[in-house]
Symmetry: C2
Subunit: 330 residues, 2 copies
Amino acid sequence: MENAITMIKHDNLADRLLDAVDDKKNPSVVGLDPRLNNIPDHLKKEAMEGSSHPFQASGRAILKFNKGLIDAVHDIVPAVKPQIAFYEKYGHQGVKAFIHTIEYAQKKGLMVIEDVKRNDIGSTAEAYAAAHLGEVDTMEDRKTSFDGDMVTVNAYLGYDGIEPFIDTCKEYGKGVFILDKTSNPSSKELQDLKTEDGKMIYEVMAELINQWGKDLVGERGYSSVGAVVGATYPEEAKKLRKIMDDNLFLVPGYGSQGGTADDVIPCFDDHGYGAVVNSSRGIDYAYQREPYCDSFGPEEFHKASREAALDMKDDIITSLEKGKKIPGGW
Amino acid sequence: MENAITMIKHDNLADRLLDAVDDKKNPSVVGLDPRLNNIPDHLKKEAMEGSSHPFQASGRAILKFNKGLIDAVHDIVPAVKPQIAFYEKYGHQGVKAFIHTIEYAQKKGLMVIEDVKRNDIGSTAEAYAAAHLGEVDTMEDRKTSFDGDMVTVNAYLGYDGIEPFIDTCKEYGKGVFILDKTSNPSSKELQDLKTEDGKMIYEVMAELINQWGKDLVGERGYSSVGAVVGATYPEEAKKLRKIMDDNLFLVPGYGSQGGTADDVIPCFDDHGYGAVVNSSRGIDYAYQREPYCDSFGPEEFHKASREAALDMKDDIITSLEKGKKIPGGW
């Protein structure tokens, strides 16, 4: 029994994520970006009852909303990706809601990608890694804190800022996605600079990510060290898929940011693996937009989100089929 | 009266920070990096009494320790720089201690540089900026959340990730320090790549930072948009001082990381302004190292930190004098 637990604890993250993708036959993940303005009124009203501070009420409303979303999509998607900025807004009350969201999602069988983009060096990076993926020291024993499955990180500081995360990934069977080519227009200001060797910065970063991840390649051929590659740059993605031949891609920018299902196909390998595609706003607030708002009111926000998540799945599957990349057995 | 409040609220951050430096005749700041292992036992024991969870006890121990440090140095330094990773470790209890540390430091007349290195794009970056420097929406009115004076940010994503912070700085009289050339050895992996135009990435970043900060230059000639430039690279700092002629530098790496007082002098302009130099471990845990441990035990950790802060001030002033950069009137 002890061996079994140890084995589970040390399973390779990339293997676990790809298994979860197979299990759901779906490489799309749902971003949990709670915006108070878009959370249905009935949840906010419930949250205010018995709250002693507006931040406490905000944290409670966020958690209620997330639980509704998680209940609605947990059998459809392999993972959720909460963006911590929307929680951190409300100080410690918001962070509490973030941590409870992670717990609830994992209890429902979902993996959790913490979108935190943390970055620092040495013992500071160790503290972040321990907080989000490993265990932290207390006055008693060591304890898990946020305990996400994966985090996003920023490697502007080089390997000094990445090594502590990688060490923690090895020890706890967790994963990281390192920012490479991001989905936003001004990503070009730094990422698209050309070096004297004729490589773009995002290509140099891709080579570093690939090299950093070599020790964590799992049985399915992918490393627990992955990369963030935006859906809005399909040409760049094609090149990056070759450089990072064993790195998982986390692909933001589908939907609201203009990336289409066809745009994300270059992020997948020839067998239809190697990428997870995120949508946040498009799923979270489906009840506020066409066509879902015709069928579902605010009280049924979760049903609208479920429909939107199913539509996204179909959309990506259709494009994978069109690109002859659909995994066997799906 | 209303006008006076508005005026105070909109004061330029760079002016405020330079005034605070003049007021203390000291350009050094104290990093607050609480490590449970190094916090004196008597504080940890007090913190455990009545705590229901080890993270609550950890947060309380951190806050007690920080209050001791702040009381000991508030009349010596212009600002403190809490590094959020060491708080975030303990989840929402740690973040609560971080927020209370900011409040306490400001109450004691100190400015607070939140070392958070946050980064994201669009509405996510807006959420971070609102959380740390501005006001956030709640179900009632808008409220301040962390309410630091300055934050560190990472610009790997380009201006999309910086603009929301700059807008918030304008509205609330706050500031940012953008990572440029960091103090760690592997900073060279990305920051020292040479572009096809013959510029180093940290030089390109410096030009961007300089340009981004133009709208926020205050009466004293410096912008509220500053840069992080490590103490460990004095040659690079010399070049960067020229490129970023109106950007404040936050200089980490003094002391524990090997940077000397002479090394940081190139970060200052010819009049001895334009930089604040941080030390964390060297001040926080002075009671554990020579020569301070000879005079002060754990119960007097704050007295040791005060001595160390005074020694750091003297060290930098001596080097400023040697470099003929001491501000007039100090």
